[in-house]
């Protein structure tokens, strides 16, 4: 491991850190917290020159110098026209955010190492359209327009590194419309949470059938010939079970269901993931097994220290198992 490079400009950072903290505290007092809708009122929208606006100003000063030097009345006129347009654009930029309502939406769970997505709903109850609103946590900006009297939904990515609850940081909404000379921005502290499942182990060992089975070492999950009926396709169903003939006829994906026997249920046991001392590694393996068992269409149960999920199948069960794995050993965040 390389030692981390010493942070540069430490003295500056040291000077600025208290200011930064004060700024953040001040912001947090100004903006409401929690999962409530937030209306961007006048005192919550900030506006200042953008970076390209700075270039614009430098250009105006250069043009003014030329106008003075060559005594060009029309150049004066042009400089004043552009400056006045920039001035008028302040209000257009500001109103593009003013009165907009932000609402926290759903949050898609993901696996550790992947990207969680948070939904933010923008509601425009004014008579003017809102253009090119950029939203972001820290990463890339997601932009959207909102028509008058309409709502827009924006999904914001946030990379998840650890399992458990991923709490969305401060949300920043900004706009440069129309000229890009000024940018208006605001913040929302929704503290949306997304569940991050443990990272599934790469190349996990086969499902521990033997550990729970009848001694043969293999298990026929619901006997493949005990056909029980059809149910609609759900994500995660094995393609092998899709009733393709039905699909060809009815345009609907149906899955063949078979009788399974509770006694034959597969148990994914904390202790079965033996050989791994590390908790996270065990959780990774169990996660991979849950996914494998679900993909195979098996009924399975999950046994964790202090928590047992009875054998079942289907998406809801898989999600419950994944949630249990994600939150294992983590106190429920309040």
């Amino acid at each position: 491991m390389h030692p981390a490079p010493p942070p540069r400009r430490t003295w500056l950072a040291g000077l600025l850190a208290p200011l930064q903290q004060r700024w953040n505290r001040w912001l947090q007092r100004r903006h409401p917290h929690g999962m409530v809708a937030q209306r961007l009122t006048q005192n919550r929208v900030y506006i200042f020159l953008s970076r390209s606006g700075l270039v614009f100003c430098i250009m105006l000063v250069a043009m003014l110098g030329g106008a003075i030097n060559y005594d060009l009345a029309l150049a004066y006129l042009l400089v004043f026209l552009l400056a006045s347009m920039a001035l008028a654009s302040v209000f257009h930029t500001f109103r593009n955010l003013l009165g907009l309502s932000l609402m926290p939406g759903r949050a898609d769970p993901c696996f550790a190492g992947e990207v969680a997505r948070f939904e933010v709903i923008l509601e425009n109850d004014s008579r003017l359209p809102r253009h090119n609103l950029g939203l972001r946590f820290e990463g890339p900006v997601e932009a959207s327009d909102v028509a008058p009297g309409d709502t827009a939904r924006v999904w914001l990515p946030l990379s998840a590194s650890k399992r458990g609850w991923l709490v969305a940081p401060r949300l920043r909404i900004e706009t440069h419309w129309p000229l890009g000379v000024f940018q208006a921005w605001s913040y929302a502290f929704f503290s949306q949470r997304a569940l991050v499942y443990p990272k599934p182990e790469n190349d996990p060992p086969p499902l521990p059938m033997a550990a729970t089975g009848d001694g043969e070492g293999t298990l026929t999950p619901r006997g493949q010939d005990d056909f029980a009926g059809l149910r609609p396709f759900q994500r995660g169903d094995s393609p092998r079970h899709v009733a393709w003939k039905v699909a060809a006829r009815d345009d609907a994906l149906m899955v063949k269901e078979f009788h399974g026997q509770a006694a034959e249920a597969l148990w994914l046991d904390w202790d079965a993931a033996s050989g791994l001392i590390d908790t996270e590694a065990r959780l990774s393996r169990l996660t991979a097994w849950v996914l494998a068992a679900h993909a195979a269409g098996l009924a399975y149960g999950l046994r964790l220290p202090g928590e047992v999920l009875a054998a079942d199948q289907g998406e809801a069960h898989r999600d419950a198992c994944l949630a249990a794995l994600a939150l294992h050993g983590i106190r429920e965040a309040t």
Binding site: G66, F80, S84
Partner: protein, 647 residues
């Protein structure tokens, strides 16, 4: 899709607008550079069409460097007006080929605004202003396009909408722009002076007078200056616009001795108050200023020379507006310096024996009688005023007076001064303009009005104006050039008849004059006058700041208010209004719809709370749902029920 990616329609529009801005420079740039630019622009268009890859740095850098070196070799500088623009154009061409993202394009858009200014360096006419205004609209549309989601491709409607918004933005900016133009403190330029900046085109009077120098100007209908009088306009024969004074004669050419502005003779006005007027000079690249004979005041921009001539502090290289006043009756230089009088008597050693001899014979007469004698000689000889005099030889005065007898004003003035000097009266030639054409409330004086006359010094009276041309061809002075010569030789504008070309031109000139006076000619002095009229005597005084910022603040508040009004919440439809009124009635029972509660849920809750009115509530709900979400209609019924619910 990468939001930072450029739309091909937008790139094409950018190319078009840059071309449009470089086009007026085409005549000023060397042809090899124009060719190179055409290739670079064409290359970019080809890249758009083929979706090809941009040239790498090692191709682009040598091209850029080569163009810069080429510009330097061509102009010997990278600064100055033309060299700077050539460099600028070359850099834009090179930058085009590495414009991938919106950020790059943004820089080009800003450079586009800058290109607009470079066009103004050479020309500030109304036509160019209108053209550049359209260009600014397109550039602004592009700028708005970059900051709006989605491109233009195949959607000219979108582009048009953005153009309309750009127009709205420009209109909103107009009041503040006008205020800034009027109030922003003007500084007298230049801040720096670059080589090659001095104007190269000279028109108008020269600093010497030789045969032909005035008659050559007689067909030039370009404007020399414009004048507006405060009050009554003097008679045409009094409108002598004084320019350079020609003191020295070498037998062929009268030359101006360099004006010395340290001392100037005393000027006394008559009983009348001085006549006040404003003159707007077109640039003529000479230091002298034109002023009505005889200047009563000296403006800040100039000084009075020892030859009673107004001289500017620097060359008139831009349009210059002067506030002047003049004595129409005056006594100037009664106590004239001996040296000056001696110089005004000097003649070449030889030449023109006949004129010399005849004039010498009059030396015994009193000075005023000598003047009259020469004038009588001119009329008696039957001298003719003509646009095309013959070329005279080395004894030009003799040949003219006693031989050819045909001449233009320079012949008359020159011959007259020669004979006056020979008769012992100090005299000199004055160049300038005579007359002018009335157009509305101002006077246009053209190059064709250039004129030369004489000035003689008489004891006790000082310098007195004598115009020998007037003695011979009075109509030239009283009614203008066209009446004194055959006017079919003259351009339309200079003719006497009120032809259509002339009328249209005069109407246009009136507009141009307003533009020049109020837009182009808005100088620091002009600003002081305008502000004085508003009661502001000092820039940066409290009152100035209050008026300036206050008026701008008002404009801004209007824009903000208008925007706020436009973005008010939409009016709910009729059914919703009735439902809201129903909800207000239910509020009396402590029933308020929750934020996310739909009408159905709310009605359920209300029915549970008020079981005795269940049927009423259900009916209102049904009516409302039918009116708002159903096929429509039923509004009347809903209204009745809601109103009925109150009782």
């Amino acid at each position: 899709m990468n939001p930072d990616r450029l739309d091909r329609t937008q790139i094409l529009a950018l190319l078009a607008v840059l071309t449009g801005l470089l086009l007026p420079h085409a005549g000023r740039l060397p042809s090899w550079l124009l060719g190179a630019l055409a290739i670079l622009f064409g290359w970019r268009i080809w890249l758009i069409r083929t979706q090809g890859r941009m040239p790498p740095k090692w191709v682009l850098l040598p091209i850029t460097f080569g163009l810069i070196v080429g510009v330097f070799i061509e102009f010997r500088t990278l600064l100055g007006r033309t060299g700077g623009i050539a460099l600028f154009a070359a850099l834009i061409g090179a930058k085009l080929l590495e414009t991938r993202s919106r950020r790059d394009a943004l820089l080009l858009v800003y450079l586009g605004y800058f290109l607009v200014v470079t066009n103004l360096l050479f020309d500030q006419t109304m036509a160019l202003a209108a053209y550049l205004c359209a260009m600014v609209l397109i550039i602004t549309t592009l700028l708005i396009g970059w900051h709006t989601l989605g491109g233009w491709t195949g959607q000219w409607r979108v582009a048009f909408k953005q153009a309309r918004f750009a127009g709205v933005l420009m209109l909103q900016a107009l009041p503040v722009m006008a205020l800034l133009f009027v109030f922003f403190p003007r500084i007298e330029g230049p801040l720096w002076r670059l080589p090659q900046d001095r104007g190269s085109i000279r028109s108008g009077l020269a600093d010497s007078m030789s045969p032909g120098s005035f008659s050559n100007m007689s067909k030039d209908d370009s404007v020399a200056f414009r004048v507006s009088f405060e009050g009554e306009r003097p008679a045409q024969e009094l409108l002598y616009w004084r320019g350079p004074v020609f003191l020295d004669y070498d037998g062929r050419t009268w030359t101006q001795s360099p004006p010395n502005a340290t001392t100037s003779p005393r000027i006394e006005g008559g009983t009348q108050p001085p006549l006040r007027y404003a003159i707007t000079l077109e640039p003529h690249q000479r230091p002298w200023l034109l002023a009505l004979d005889m200047p009563a005041t000296v403006p800040d921009e100039g000084r009075m020379s020892d030859q009673l001539q107004l001289v500017g502090r620097r060359q008139v290289s831009k349009r210059l507006r002067l506030e002047l006043s003049a004595y129409l009756q005056y006594r100037a230089g009664v106590d004239e310096d001996e040296a000056m009088l001696a110089r005004a008597l000097v003649l070449p050693e030889e030449g023109n024996p006949r004129a010399r001899q005849q004039a010498a014979a009059w030396r015994t007469l009193p000075p005023q009688a000598r003047v009259d004698a020469v004038l009588q000689l001119f009329t008696g000889q039957g001298l003719q005023y003509t646009l095309a005099p013959p070329l005279y030889g080395s004894n030009a005065v003799d040949d003219f007076v006693y031989g050819g007898k045909q001449g233009f004003c320079e012949h008359f003035a020159g011959a007259f001064v020669f004979m006056m000097r020979a008769a012992g009266v100090p005299a000199r030639v004055v160049g300038g303009y005579q007359g002018g054409e009335e157009n509305g409330d101002y006077l246009i004086v053209r190059q064709a009005d250039a004129h030369a006359w004489a000035e003689v010094w008489l004891e006790g009276q000082g310098w007195q104006r004598v115009d020998p041309t007037f003695a011979v061809a009075p109509s030239r002075i009283e009614e203008g050039l066209a009446s004194a010569v055959n006017d079919s030789d003259l351009p339309y504008l200079l003719r006497l008849d009120n032809n259509l070309v002339k009328r249209a031109q005069l109407a246009l000139d009136s507009m141009v004059n307003g533009w020049n006076q109020w837009v182009i000619g808005y100088t620091p002095e002009r600003q002081r006058q305008v502000l004085k009229r508003l009661g502001i005597t000092d820039l940066l005084s409290g009152k100035f700041v209050a008026v300036f910022l206050g008026s701008i603040g008002l404009c801004i508040a209007l824009i903000a208010g208008w925007l706020l009004w436009r973005m008010r919440p939409p009016k709910p439809d009729a059914a919703r209004q009735l439902w809201d009124s129903f909800c207000r009635r239910l509020a009396a029972y402590d029933l308020v719809p929750a934020r996310a509660e739909g009408p159905r849920d709310f009605a359920q809750r209300a029915m549970a709370r008020l079981p005795q009115r269940e049927t009423e509530i259900q009916a209102i709900l049904d009516c409302y749902l039918a009116a708002r979400y159903g096929s429509g209609g039923g509004l009347e019924q809903l209204k009745q029920r809601v109103v009925g619910f109150g009782r």
